[in-house]
Symmetry: C2
Subunit: 258 residues, 2 copies
């Protein structure tokens, strides 16, 4: 059995979301849901946060707001290993120190990020599978509904091997990562994807970004490139991702999210 435990009282928010903290096998997560009748099943979107970030970062709660209020979906995020409410290992500390050293020295971050994210993904993929197992036992989600995945940056490093290995995920939004550790897994993914990259990314070259997009086997795949540097991904791409999930998970976007 998957030990889903809700660890907070359900708290309702002025923005109309039900927020519930949980753990699955000790991994802390958050589930955002519409304030509707629990008997009304709705699709689930699993999200993965970026590196150095955590499950309730505003980028996560902002996306959840759009997906829950706009589409009536459930949205869940878990902390990645070494992130958020989870302890760092000596290996985490060493890799983070190495990243900061390279950054300060003006050396490329890519080789370190690729290697460290690959390490974290190997730990996180079974955690995402167990989280999905557990959440699908909730009556308001269920085991036969559509499931989306949304993760950019480190969220893509975790999401590509997760989606490649889990046929329950039927649509995914990825972006902004190097192809090195991911292209082979991407070639196993056939569900519709939307993929974001930045045209002037100072870390990921155009060739690297395009190579990862190219690697997906999906017959329905869209690439959204925007002018700007790594951190300049425009906010309207979050709205676009919400419409992508609305198209593929089968709920129209209400005007409040359009």
């Amino acid at each position: 059995m998957y030990s889903l435990q809700f660890t907070s009282e359900p708290s309702s928010y002025p923005n109309g979301l039900l927020e519930r903290d949980f753990t699955v096998n000790g991994v802390p997560g958050v589930l955002w849901s519409p304030l509707s009748d629990p008997a009304d099943r709705a699709p689930l979107v699993l999200m993965a946060h970026g590196g150095g970030n955590h499950k309730k970062h505003p980028a996560m709660s902002g996306r959840a707001q759009r997906l829950v209020s706009g589409c009536g979906f459930h949205v869940a995020v878990i902390d990645a290993p070494g992130h958020g409410d989870r302890p760092r290992t000596a290996h985490d500390e060493a890799e983070i120190a190495e990243l900061f050293r390279a950054r300060a020295a003006g050396e490329p971050e890519g080789p370190i990020v690729v290697r460290y994210n690959d390490h974290l993904a190997r730990l996180a993929v079974p955690e995402y599978r167990a989280t999905l197992d557990a959440l699908q036992e909730l009556p308001e989600i269920g085991a036969d509904g559509p499931v989306g995945f949304w993760g950019i940056n480190m969220g893509t490093a975790i999401g590509v091997p997760f989606v490649a290995s889990d046929p329950r995920v039927t649509a995914a939004v990825f972006g902004q990562h190097w192809p090195d550790a991911l292209a082979e897994k991407a070639a196993q993914i056939t569900v519709p994807i939307e993929f974001d990259l930045q045209w002037d990314d100072e870390h990921i070259s155009r060739e690297q970004g395009l190579a990862l997009f190219d690697a997906f086997a999906s017959t329905e795949k869209s690439l959204h490139v925007n002018a700007g540097r790594h951190k300049d991904l425009p906010r309207f791409e979050a709205d676009s991702a919400v419409r992508f999930f609305a198209r593929h998970l089968g709920r129209p976007v209400s005007s409040s999210a359009s």
Copy 2:
């Protein structure tokens, strides 16, 4: 003076659009407008149709429907030289015959299309300028409102030199053309653009499509790539273009178009 003449009685349609045929200096066009008080000024989107196509092709009227009903904009298209209600010259006939010959022989169409579209663009750019001059004299459009341009394929061959030469255009959607005759003009364009290309285009290589996108000087530019061949551009890219114009020309998209 620019001789705008309405050549049809205004006809209203069940879909809520006012459609008026017009000519400017003898060039036939169509203006689609909301059924609102003419004193309410609204932004104008000029569109250019694709090769072998005409001003009222369903691709044009479908986009107009989205822009007028969804955003309250005016939308105008004129027939390109040798297209729609305009006569073909001997040069048009010869180029079209050459295109069909190359197609039947399995030769690349690109060199012929690039050359012929460049010829047509040289004729069409002053026609677009005159049309804009004339339409801006209508009280419901006016001379100081924002103006968008939307043209894919041949519409991009005409639109890139037009937008490069006319500072009244403040946002544009382009796509699906070779860079050869256009990259230099694109480098003069600084307004926000959205650009579509197809990842498996049998006529325009990835390198050619990306090179044209790269050439624009705009600091706000978005590239939308979709898996599929030349004619497979997904319909949801029309919705995306409408939202792009809503963002940049300053009208929210109503839920009916989202």
